[in-house]
């Protein structure tokens, strides 16, 4: 079985986010990026599914930090890592078009990616990709097991309710969480990969992403009746006593 995992860097939300001088985009100067946490779960699920006979291929678009990202995927156990070049960074629609072009050339059984990312204004990569490739897709998946020619997946609804589906392969799955927490790759092992392993390069055409929308402004959300800010724990205790819980 051949499994593709699509990985993407996103702004680290722990850092302060600032809007650039155009007022329409993030100021990337000071921005720190990290692997989209859901993609980390997708990679983990792929590694859990992949046995010795199987191939797990990590793919990422060219971009800052993405080489390290791919070396980390190799350190975690991915069989191969591929960086897609020749693509202008754009929204999730363009990303989906680029990944679709890259994946069309290989015959993957399963394509896993994170269910969403913090910046996918144009929709989620998984279903956008599936639509371009004409493949079935299930989003918000928390468990995958592979059967003969198909996969059994659990999809999360709300309130802890899940639905189990059978999906004919090949298919795209948007992973919400892997069946166990994503594994950790020690820095030493990532360094070793950087020295010994190779990241393959694949040039894909800069095809457009189809109909798009235009960003007109970006700003912190307007706050309605915001919180009354307290000075210290003593003030908090007063509030708790006022609410009758302390």
């Amino acid at each position: 079985m051949k499994i593709a995992v699509l990985l993407k860097m996103v702004p680290d939300l722990v850092e302060e986010l600032e809007v650039d001088s155009t007022g329409k985009a993030l100021d990337t100067e000071e921005l720190k990026f990290k692997l989209n946490e859901f993609d980390d779960h997708a990679l983990e699920e792929a590694l859990l599914l992949g046995g010795e006979e199987d191939e797990v291929v990590a793919l990422a678009l060219e971009g800052e930090g993405n080489e390290k990202l791919l070396f980390t995927a190799l350190a975690k156990g991915a069989s191969r890592a591929v960086q897609l070049t020749g693509v202008q960074p754009g929204g999730s629609g363009e990303q989906a078009t680029a990944f679709a072009a890259a994946l069309a050339e290989s015959s993957f059984d399963l394509i896993l990616t994170g269910v969403q990312s913090v910046d996918d204004r144009e929709g989620q990569l998984g279903p956008l990709l599936a639509a371009r490739m004409g493949l079935p897709c299930v989003s918000v998946v928390t468990g995958v097991s592979v059967t003969d020619g198909g996969a059994t997946v659990n999809k999360e609804y709300s309130g802890g309710v899940m639905a189990e589906f059978e999906v004919t392969l090949p298919a795209v799955l948007g992973i919400q969480s892997a069946q166990q927490p994503p594994r950790y790759a020690p820095v030493s092992k990532v360094r070793q990969m950087q020295q010994t392993a190779t990241i393959e390069s694949l040039t894909v055409g800069g095809a457009g992403g189809g109909a798009e929308s235009e960003v007109t402004a970006m700003a912190p959300p307007e706050v309605g009746a915001s919180a009354k800010m307290l000075d210290d724990a003593a003030a908090l205790l007063e509030v708790l006593r006022g609410e009758g819980v302390a």
Binding site: G123, Q124, M229
Partner: protein
């Protein structure tokens, strides 16, 4: 050749709240007649969708199916050529929006909190970056918008009436996705939807061992412990204690959020709590936008001091 198409959601024979929220939004736009697409036997409950001018009965099985429901919505778009298609930014909506947009070459805007009709199109505002930024977009008509649950007043869309019901002839499904069964949540040791006071922890807790201190505080406050999704994904707490989109919707008397940034997925599950108290070291954390009281301090310092005082 106009109007707004609302994709209804249901579970276990009842329309989901998002259905009425989308209807309320659709009616507020002044962008023509509102049609509502229903699935399975839900057209039989068309009288609950009185704020729609017409109900499109898309057939399909009662149980949601990503493939057949998306194909049915696509067929409805073909038949009605709406200017705007409103879909929930939900587990189901995620499967449907992209294939419908792709099939018709329409622009898609996700995570919308507001949508307004403008000259020749729509202005949308999306909540991105974990709720830390609002991004405004302009799309030309026709377009697909995915709307975050809780963005609109569902009560305004909950109008009884007798909309016309039109049956839609849908093509046979490709059958590549097949529904097996619903899996109800395993009962945990506590039902957090019934708790009067909840102490909820998020990513800010940092390590599993530190949960103990918060548990101590919860006990002193006679509260139950809850958490946001990353804590469950890390395997530190049971799913039965998860608050949010894929967890439980709670409305305790007092909700104390410790180290929870307040991503839209979490806010969806707790914003109806009577009193919300948020403690987070990041003063820009979106949780402070819904909290009634806030404290920007290290959560461990606060917990230790409270535990000391309460003991």
């Amino acid at each position: 050749m106009s109007g707004v198409l609302v994709v209804c959601e249901h579970l276990s024979g009842e329309f989901a709240d998002i259905t009425f929220e989308l209807l309320a939004l659709a009616n507020s736009l002044g962008a023509g007649d509102v049609s509502a697409v229903t699935f399975g036997s839900m057209a039989g409950k068309a009288s609950e969708l009185g704020s729609a001018a017409c109900v499109i009965d898309a057939g399909c099985e009662d149980e949601y199916n990503p493939e057949s429901y998306a194909a049915a919505v696509s067929t409805a778009v073909d038949a009605h050529s709406p200017d705007l298609i409103l879909i929930g930014s939900t587990s189901m909506g995620m499967d449907i929006a992209a294939p419908v947009a792709a099939a018709h070459g329409l622009p898609l805007v996700a995570y919308c909190t507001t949508v307004e009709a403008t000259n020749g199109g729509f202005a949308c505002s999306s909540s991105l970056y974990g709720g830390k930024l609002g991004v405004s977009s302009q799309v030309s008509s026709p377009a697909v918008a995915m709307v975050l649950p809780g963005s609109c007043d569902g009560d305004a869309g909950r109008v009884a009436g007798s909309p016309a019901v039109n049956e839609l002839a849908i093509p046979e499904s490709a059958g590549k996705v097949r529904f097996n069964r619903l899996i109800e949540p395993e009962a945990g040791d506590v039902d957090i939807t019934q708790s009067g006071v909840l102490v909820a922890i998020g990513r800010g807790i940092g390590s599993k061992d530190d949960i103990e201190l918060v548990a101590e505080l919860a006990e002193l406050l006679d509260a139950d412990l809850a958490c946001s999704r990353p804590i469950v994904d890390a395997g530190w707490m049971e799913k039965s204690r998860q608050v949010g989109k894929s967890g439980f919707k709670v409305k305790p008397r007092v909700y104390i959020a410790l180290g929870i940034s307040g991503a839209p997925e979490h806010i969806e599950g707790m914003k109806n709590s009577a009193t919300i108290i948020a403690i987070n070291s990041d003063e820009d954390a979106p949780i402070f936008d819904v909290a009634h009281y806030g404290l920007t301090e290290d959560l461990f310092d606060v917990c230790e001091e409270l535990v000391e005082e309460l003991e």
